[in-house]
């Protein structure tokens, strides 16, 4: 599925290029109906993202995807669905906003302010998409490290060599995960250096080498191979921060009040909210530059149909956030959390490893390795498409922005600019 399909732009359909704005008169009732429908669609789509045990009854009851096992909240599969939802909403939004509209509305209040604000949010979202792309690259690195542990610990019997190898990989993985979160201002090279500290054996360099048969693994925490998170996720200049961008996107995001002349401020508000929601969720889940403290909540009013499922989702994700905060580590992506949990427990096992491993212990390890295998498989299958989808989102936003700008340009510009 190629992310760009040049399926002709909206420009063609409304032909604005030569200063002519086709203004079909959509009658008011039809307009209202269209808006109503748009909101309902958005609401339905977000309902599908809620975990099944959610108390909210479906608004219509005509949902048929009981067959579809609902994806775990914040898993890769869930995100793929979320991004799909975004893309659908976006298409419909553009249709509502542009097609058949009298484009002169765009240059009048309140759209003359709302649209630029929305476009500004889009720009920030584009940066976030780029940061997420880098973040996914980092998760790939983690996946490879986890795979090392899997390869090592799948072998029987469980012996020192394998445990040692797995431990190194998992330690690197865990260090990378925490570093990503905490060491925000460390220069990548420096960090690499620090993490690549080769702690020679406790004996010290000067002592003559001795053969030590009973060396415990923990005496000798050897090289951490590390690919460093910091440089992976630093997609922009140092000052850039995902959480600040999210905050900035939330600014001025308020539901329209009273009767406004065009009725278009609602869909613009809706789309902005969806955009911010999606970006907020991505930043919360995927490692990216300066994502800590992205706890910002989008203030959504409760009286609108479509905000309901979004508010519920936000609450659920907020709970996850709180759970995580105590442990204070990586993003909320379900797969990463599992990896982290399993990695910690396997490292613990490795720390206390003594040969031979009893049957019960071995079974326990085997179960955890199985869990890791499953996650690695999910990442293997899911990360590529997710990355493509993020890219598609990027492309779509770029296109839409260009289209909206063009419309605004044409109607807004009474060409008085002197060139020379």
């Amino acid at each position: 599925m190629p992310p760009t399909d040049n399926q002709g732009s909206f420009l063609n359909r409304i032909s604005i290029r030569r200063n002519q704005v086709v203004s079909m008169d959509v009658n008011h009732e039809q307009e209202l109906e269209e808006l109503e429908l748009f909101q309902k669609h958005v609401s339905d789509r977000f309902l599908q993202l809620l975990p099944p045990q959610s108390p909210l009854p479906s608004s219509t009851g005509e949902e048929t995807d009981v067959v579809d096992t609902p994806e775990r909240l914040l898993s890769i599969a869930w995100f793929r669905k979320l991004l799909d939802v975004y893309l659908c909403c976006e298409s419909e939004f553009k249709a509502v906003l542009i097609i058949g509209r009298d484009a002169t509305h765009f240059s009048k209040p309140p759209l003359d302010r709302l649209l630029p604000d929305h476009l500004d949010r889009t720009v920030k979202a584009l940066d976030i998409c780029n940061a997420i792309t880098h973040g996914i690259e980092l998760i790939r690195h983690w996946q490879r490290l986890a795979q090392i542990a899997v390869d090592a610990l799948e072998q029987r019997p469980i012996v020192e060599g394998h445990v040692r190898r797995a431990k190194r990989a998992l330690n690197t993985l865990l260090t990378s995960m925490t570093t990503d979160d905490k060491e925000q201002n460390v220069h990548p090279g420096k960090l690499a250096e620090r993490m690549w500290s080769i702690s020679r054996r406790g004996g010290g360099g000067s002592a003559p080498p001795t053969v030590n048969h009973n060396r415990r693994i923990s005496d000798n925490s050897p090289t951490i191979i590390t690919l460093v998170s910091r440089s992976l996720s630093s997609s922009f200049t140092k000052s850039w921060s995902a959480s600040k961008q999210i905050q900035a996107m939330c600014a001025n995001l308020v539901a329209p009040r009273g009767g406004d002349s065009t009725g278009l401020s609602l869909p613009v508000y809706l789309m902005s909210s969806v955009l911010v929601f999606v970006m907020w969720t991505l930043v919360a889940a995927v490692p990216c530059q300066e994502r800590v403290g992205s706890g910002t909540h989008i203030q959504l009013p409760r009286h609108l149909v479509w905000t309901h499922p979004m508010i519920l989702l936000q609450e659920k994700i907020g709970e996850e956030c709180k759970k995580k905060e105590k442990k204070g580590t990586v993003g909320l992506l379900a797969e990463i959390q599992v990896i982290e949990k399993v990695a910690q427990s396997l490292v613990e096992f490795a720390e206390g490893f003594e040969f031979p491993v009893g049957g019960e212990k071995a079974d326990e390890v085997a179960a955890q390795v199985m869990e890791l295998v499953e996650i690695c498989r999910k990442l293997e299958v899911g990360l590529g498409p997710l990355q493509l989808q993020v890219r598609e989102l990027f492309h779509r936003m770029v296109r839409s922005r260009a289209e909206v700008l063009d419309v605004m340009d044409v109607v807004g510009k009474i060409n008085t600019n002197v060139l020379y």
Binding site: N12, D127, R164, S231, R391, N417, V418, L419
Partner: protein, 613 residues
């Protein structure tokens, strides 16, 4: 530096000193284990323990830092790798009987040793990988030892315990040009050996991660040293165009260098280190390329998303061309499928930038169309709009092939453009619009002669600029040039008629004589009005501007050509009518030579008193 005196050979080589006997024993044991007899495991020989211990010692030497791979003799490093291979075989054979307690213990012990040996390989691989000096450093400092020293003290060598012994005379004698990407042949062959060891020992993933990490850091470091900034799209929105323009220039340079020089070198490095493992080197190289290319493309994306304006055309074209040309360069090195995503990214950039370029032209059209400045340019000189437009187009025409491509692509996307099929017709349309606009501006002058001078000036300017730019000349074509020239001739003719025909009427011989007798009062009137009219023309038209020298002299010549002969003949015929002296002086103000001088002063743009510009 303290380690400078370490001599590798001095230390008694513990394992190397053992003759092959131990190894033979181990190998025999391995084949015994692999024998058909499955019933009961043979006794584990003493030699297995000895082998493990000796290998352990060898590893400890590396772990403690007292031995470094790069200093090892050929056979010592081979022995190390060999020991790993032997251990791997031994482990594999032993594992057949792993349920036996003794076997399990032996496996445990050997696997631990083996793992540490692999660690040593990893550490050594990483440390040699780290020991590059960036080409940037090398280029800047032609003194290799100085660069080396700087590099050692900088962060790239992370193993601080034992800085690589520096041998200044040696590094000076070593020709730097033998290295690529900062790796000497010796380094790359060692890396190759280590990589082989890691891969055959099952540590392919670790090895690849290390490689990717170091090379990626190296490339990023290189970008950083060359001041490549990773602007976010949001930041770029808020920046002024001028600094962005500068960034674009250096981006172009870096991007081209990256694709034509750095990438091929990276490819060769990956191929050299992972020789025999094409899949691995392919994957590593394309991952690396993907990551770095993403930075370059992100920059272009950020620029393309800035607000469109006419001044950005040229840099947009630069970006368009760079992206268009670089991708095929990269494609030479990577299989197309691995590049899929990047290609779609690049194509998005060029679609958007292409659209911007197209729209810049539409906007140029619109602004020419709507330029309605009401103040006429003094003296009928070339209008700033003309200058701006022509100079703009002149620069644009340096990109005419690319513009043609952009317009063709746009035509494909935008179905509605019928006549605006290509850049050539776009250009012609702009010229027409400019012409129409100038025509309207010429009407701002009250004096029709001045309007004509204005049209001539501007027309001439347009024609000259066009002829001076080969691309523009050929795009607009001969008919356009012919039309433009004939318009100019018409303006010229009209001007002569407008200004000079009335004056020439004063010099008409008709109506001056009745029955062969010159009527003096009429003649007096004629001279008087000629003088007044000529004075007036002279006074006004010396303030007019024709800055094109050729046009100026053409005008003067053609004016002289009609005025002077007529005046001469008029004088010749009638001057003697007056009484020489006072009367002659009163009516004959100008000698023909004076007229000529005055004509030479026209169109000088002289205002007020000052005669000289």
């Amino acid at each position: 530096m303290a380690d400078q005196n370490i001599k590798v050979d001095q230390e008694p080589p513990s394992v190397a000193s053992q003759d092959g006997k131990l190894h033979e024993k181990i190998d025999r044991f391995i084949s015994a284990l692999n024998g058909d007899d499955q019933s009961s495991p043979p006794e584990i020989t003493e030699s297995v323990q000895t082998f493990a211990d000796l290998f352990d010692v060898m590893i400890v030497e590396h772990e403690s830092g007292s031995k470094r791979w790069i200093q090892l003799e050929e056979d010592a490093s081979s022995l190390f790798i060999e020991s790993i291979d032997r251990t791997a075989k031994l482990l594999k054979s032993l594992s057949r009987f792993h349920s036996d307690e003794n076997y399990a213990a032996a496996i445990n012990r050997l696997s631990g040793v083996q793992q540490r040996a692999m660690c040593v390989l990893e550490v050594e691989f990483k440390s040699i990988m780290d020991d590059y000096q960036t080409s940037y450093d090398r280029d800047r400092k032609n003194k290799p030892d100085e660069a080396k020293r700087k590099q050692l003290s900088s962060s790239s060598s992370n193993v601080q315990e034992t800085p690589e012994p520096e041998l200044p005379d040696q590094s000076e004698s070593q020709p730097v040009k033998d290295e690529f990407l900062g790796y000497s042949d010796e380094m790359s062959s060692n890396l190759n050996k280590l990589a082989q060891g890691l891969i055959s020992g099952g540590h392919e993933t670790e090895c690849c991660e290390l490689y990717l990490f170091v090379r990626r850091n190296a490339m990023e470091q290189n970008l950083k040293l060359q001041r490549f900034e990773k602007f976010s799209i949001d930041e770029m929105q808020k920046m002024q165009w001028e600094p962005i323009e500068k960034e674009v220039v250096s981006w172009m340079k870096l991007f081209k260098e990256f694709s034509t020089s750095l990438l091929p070198s990276e490819r060769r490095l990956a191929d050299a280190i992972f020789s025999g493992h094409t899949t691995i080197s392919d994957r590593l190289f394309s991952n690396l390329t993907r990551i770095i290319l993403l930075y370059f493309l992100s920059f272009a994306e950020a620029v393309m998303l800035t607000k469109r304006s006419a001044e950005k055309l040229f840099k947009f074209l630069d970006i368009y061309e760079t992206v268009r040309d670089v991708i095929p360069e990269v494609e030479k090195l990577i299989s197309a499928e691995r590049l899929q995503q990047l290609k779609s990214g690049a194509s998005l950039i060029n679609t958007i930038i292409g659209e911007s370029i197209f729209n810049i032209f539409i906007e140029l059209e619109n602004s020419i169309k709507s330029d309605a400045t009401k103040t006429p340019v003094p003296g009928g000189a070339v209008h700033p709009l003309t200058r701006y437009t022509m100079n703009y187009l002149k620069y644009a025409c340096e990109y005419s092939d690319t513009l043609e491509q952009v317009f063709q692509e746009h035509k494909k996307i935008d179905g509605e453009s019928q006549n605006q099929s290509n850049y050539g017709s776009q250009l012609a349309r702009i010229m027409d619009l400019l012409d129409a606009n100038l025509e309207a501006k010429s009407r701002l002058y009250k004096d029709p002669s001045l309007s004509l001078i204005f049209m001539m000036n501007n027309g001439r300017y347009i024609l000259q600029k066009t002829k001076g730019t080969g691309e523009m000349r050929s795009l607009l074509g001969d008919p356009w040039v012919r039309k433009q020239s004939s318009d100019l001739r018409n303006y010229h003719t009209s001007y002569k008629r407008e200004t000079w025909t009335r004056l020439l009427q004063c010099l008409s011989h008709e109506g001056l004589s009745v029955n062969g007798k010159v009527m003096k009062p009429v003649l007096k009137e004629r001279f008087k009005s000629f003088n007044a009219m000529f004075d007036d023309i002279h006074k006004t038209q010396t303030t007019w501007v024709v800055s094109d020298e050729q046009l100026q002299s053409e005008l003067r010549v053609s004016i002289s050509a009609i005025v002077i002969p007529a005046y001469r003949s008029f004088m010749g015929r009638f001057s003697q009518v007056f009484t020489p002296g006072r009367q002659t002086e009163k009516y004959i103000k100008y000698q023909p030579e004076d007229i000529e001088t005055c004509i030479e002063e026209l169109f000088d743009g002289n205002t007020g008193q000052s005669k000289k510009r």
